[in-house]
């Protein structure tokens, strides 16, 4: 039985081998092709050997891809950070958006939280906020200015 509820899943995983530009290009090529056929959208980040991916689509398609990724030997230590229903897609224009992101030179300045630390925290509200922060960052880097504030 299929579930057509619109859903987003965010997961993190660790690359089993370092991903160079060619590896990333190939990963994006196959993922965009699959997602276009499955009606999935989202974005991918690769930072310091770790993947963060946001997936959006029907619950059935998203879950199908999550299971597929779990079996992908290029990833390990996969962990679903957030799974929630959504009213509308935040990456509707992207079969799998990608922007290069740098690894900070040091800890976050005093008084600042680190988005990537929050992303893997046990606090659901911190995780949700971190995902929103990444969404803002991605929209700014990819499009210049988002047309609407993130939900």
């Amino acid at each position: 039985m299929t579930d057509d509820t619109l859903q987003t899943v965010v997961y993190s995983s660790t690359a089993t081998q370092p991903f160079g530009p060619d590896d990333l290009r190939e990963l994006l090529r196959t993922s965009r092709s699959y997602n276009a056929d499955a009606g999935l959208t989202g974005m991918l980040l690769y930072r310091g050997g770790r993947f963060i991916q946001v997936l959006e689509g029907t619950a059935s398609e998203v879950q199908g891809l999550v299971e597929k990724i779990r079996g992908d030997r290029r990833h390990t230590a996969m962990r679903v950070l957030l799974r929630e229903p959504i009213d509308e897609r935040r990456f509707a224009d992207w079969t799998m958006g990608y922007e290069p992101i740098g690894v900070p030179a040091g800890d976050a300045p005093e008084g600042f939280r680190d988005t990537f630390d929050d992303l893997e925290a046990d606090d659901p509200s911190a995780v949700a906020r971190a995902v929103r922060e990444l969404t803002v960052w991605f929209r700014v880097r990819s499009q210049g200015v988002p047309e609407t504030p993130p939900a």
């Binding site: 958006g97 990608y98 300045p109 939280r113 700014v140 990819s142 210049g144």
Partner: protein, 109 residues
């Protein structure tokens, strides 16, 4: 002894996404962001990504985000006593430099 950049609070949670890019939230609501430019200055944007100012220092940029219209409705705000002098905000919409960051993967051609 470590030195810390004085920063406005106003009940705002600030997070670093990457060096130079900081997002502010208050009570779970997205307020806006501050983006460091190649010249070392900072652009501040509200929750609708409208630029609210260009600043020499991050603290003034953060205050501008916290004090932006709309953000002010969420909680009382105050101007940080540590805010640096700033240049007038521009009414021009900000466009990111059109460099090689443009991604592939658009779902629509």
């Amino acid at each position: 002894m470590a030195t810390a950049t004085p920063r406005p609070d106003n009940g705002v949670t600030w997070a670093r996404v990457e060096d130079g890019f900081h997002v502010g939230s208050r009570h779970g609501e997205f307020l806006g962001y501050v983006d460091r430019q190649s010249d070392g200055g900072y652009l501040a944007f509200d929750a609708f990504s409208r630029m609210v100012g260009r600043f020499r220092g991050i603290t003034a940029a953060m205050s501008a985000v916290a004090d932006a219209p709309g953000a002010a409705a969420a909680a009382p705000t105050h101007r940080s006593p540590h805010a640096e002098p700033d240049r007038p905000a521009s009414a021009e919409p900000h466009r990111m430099p059109h460099d090689e960051r443009r991604s592939l993967g658009k779902a629509t051609p």
